[in-house]
Symmetry: C2
Subunit: 339 residues, 2 copies
């Protein structure tokens, strides 16, 4: 048993990203990412007030910048000088391209040809080389490039440095709202929730960390219920509007953290996701992508619960296709429902 710097007892084994690794990540990325505030959500339930952690306000529009900076800054200069490679459905791609430009490194991004056009264009604008490949080939192509050209691979989630980078979000939540009771986190490959959960639980073991997935891509929720990891077919997860959460299975490191630290994984419907995007625009003045809005949807669906008082929804990103975004807002006006 060891004791972390806040004095909380812990018996963390080496397979778990430690709070010290998260704190080191926070030092490494300081001043390079936005220290996002907690925003009180003005239309929450007063008996369980909600704060938003708007990672959509990072300059690339998503939390992924934290892990990408932490990973790339942790690599030796001579290794990363040859170049870096990543594969991603979008937000990780932009993050890696941003970091590469900032640090003057050549980056190749392998993007599935199913990704929204807005995300592909954003990567190109950042000066990265893009390879569009069929969805199923994305990982092998990136691995090939790393091997053949000697590039450093920057994995999207199944990596200690990526998890520690995401963990800085948990650290900031604990700093800004020390008596937080419940934190909702979107689940895709599991990088975000692994980091947030390991940071929060090592600082405040009583907090409940709730993962959120679309019903249409609920591999992690099913895994959690069954107690071992499930994989869903590509075709199944591809149908949710939440394009950032179309991952078929969580990663190895990520599953270890989820099994150990996460209290529940809940699902939300496509309609609930659409509604949450519109509410976030109207009531929190945030442009949020469907994947980032699942946490508000989960908060709204759960209603009064025994989870506790002070709740936080991590809003993971804001890179929504402009046409889709205006469609969602217009559909919401048409219902004329009170927010």
């Amino acid at each position: 048993m060891n004791t972390d710097s806040d004095g909380a007892a812990s018996d963390i084994d080496e397979s778990i990203v430690s709070i010290d690794e998260v704190r080191a990540a926070a030092e490494r990325i300081r001043g390079r990412v936005v220290r996002t505030p907690l925003l009180p959500f003005p239309n929450g339930d007063p008996h369980r007030p909600l704060w938003l952690k708007p990672e959509s306000l990072q300059p690339t529009g998503a939390f992924k910048l934290r892990g990408a900076y932490n990973k790339i800054l942790a690599v030796r200069d001579d290794a990363r000088a040859r170049g870096i490679v990543a594969h991603s459905s979008g937000n990780h791609a932009q993050a890696v391209a941003w970091v590469a430009r900032d640090l003057g490194i050549h980056a190749v991004i392998v993007i599935p040809d199913t990704a929204p056009q807005v995300k592909v264009r954003a990567v190109l604008e950042l000066g990265a080389e893009v390879e569009l490949v069929p969805f199923a080939d994305r990982t092998t192509r990136a691995v090939d490039l790393a091997a053949s050209r000697g590039y450093v691979m920057v994995p999207p989630y199944d990596d200690r440095d990526i998890v520690a980078g995401a963990g800085t979000i948990g650290l900031e939540i604990a700093e800004d709202l020390p008596d937080v009771d419940v934190v909702f986190v979107p689940v895709s490959g599991g990088g975000l929730i692994s980091g947030v959960a390991t940071a929060l639980k090592q600082i405040r073991p009583s907090v409940a960390v709730i993962g959120v997935e679309p019903e249409l891509a609920a591999d992690a929720a099913e895994s959690f219920r069954m107690g071992h990891r499930q994989r869903w077919p590509d075709e199944a997860v591809g149908s949710t509007i939440a394009d950032g959460l179309r991952v078929t299975s969580v990663g190895d490191i990520n599953w270890t953290h989820i099994a150990r630290f996460v209290d529940d994984i809940v699902t939300v419907t496509e309609d609930e996701i659409r509604d949450a995007v519109a509410r976030l625009a109207r009531r929190a003045r945030l442009v949020v992508e469907p994947s980032g809005a699942v946490t508000l949807a989960a908060y709204l669906r759960r209603g009064p619960s025994g989870d506790g008082h002070k709740q936080v929804a991590v809003i993971s990103g804001g890179n929504v296709d402009p046409e889709l975004f205006t469609d969602l807002l217009r559909a919401h006006h048409a219902t004329d429902r009170p927010f």
Copy 2:
């Protein structure tokens, strides 16, 4: 001559809100308003990088919460217990209603019947009593209520405590970006720019503070050029899309601060304002009202200048009518111009 706590020389007279008053306001409102971050704008000119100060993220969607809290908390408990009254075109109304609910005070808000419906509804939802009056009667009706019912008047801008509250924005900019060179601020009644300018200039005299108005409501720009205060007719200023900037003249205290501290007041067109709203949604993932977007419009219009390197645009609010907002986004997609 006296010296402020940062050691900068100043010869501030008593008509000017001092940096100590701004610091006292910051203490008073701490934890009640959002400490907004500076957000790097990813599509600015790299030779004069831009940060956004997004006051649209306050829980009522505008900077006005800072002045309202500072004013109302500065009044004696027994005086404010009778109630408070304010008149406003919208964002000040929501701020006063929010503070009144938070502190358990009865509030009457006098709103011009030209205000957007979305803003009126928001005040009602906060539990305040609303009186809709013709635009020209707004001030006299509020003064009457204060006199007849013994309410404390919370003026929208022409008040030291309101200016000091807005000044906390300048204080935060100086804390987060100590070597800031240029700050753009929307000008309506002048409360926001008075506060921001007095705080910044007393901390960093070399900073340039640039006011921004719509061409269609450019009374302050004209006043600044002529060296004495001008008033524009209600009918003239009412035609700009920037409904928060439809004020016919800046206030007394505000003019004193503008004449002393502001370096220039520039104007932007209606098209430039519409374009800036869409860019802020797409590139900064912020829902911003036209009045709040004038500063980005001014930054984009000015192009390379001798003003200096590090620039900040204060984004004053995000309470845009939902239909107007989607119209602006759709019009922008239709042009298919690169952002």
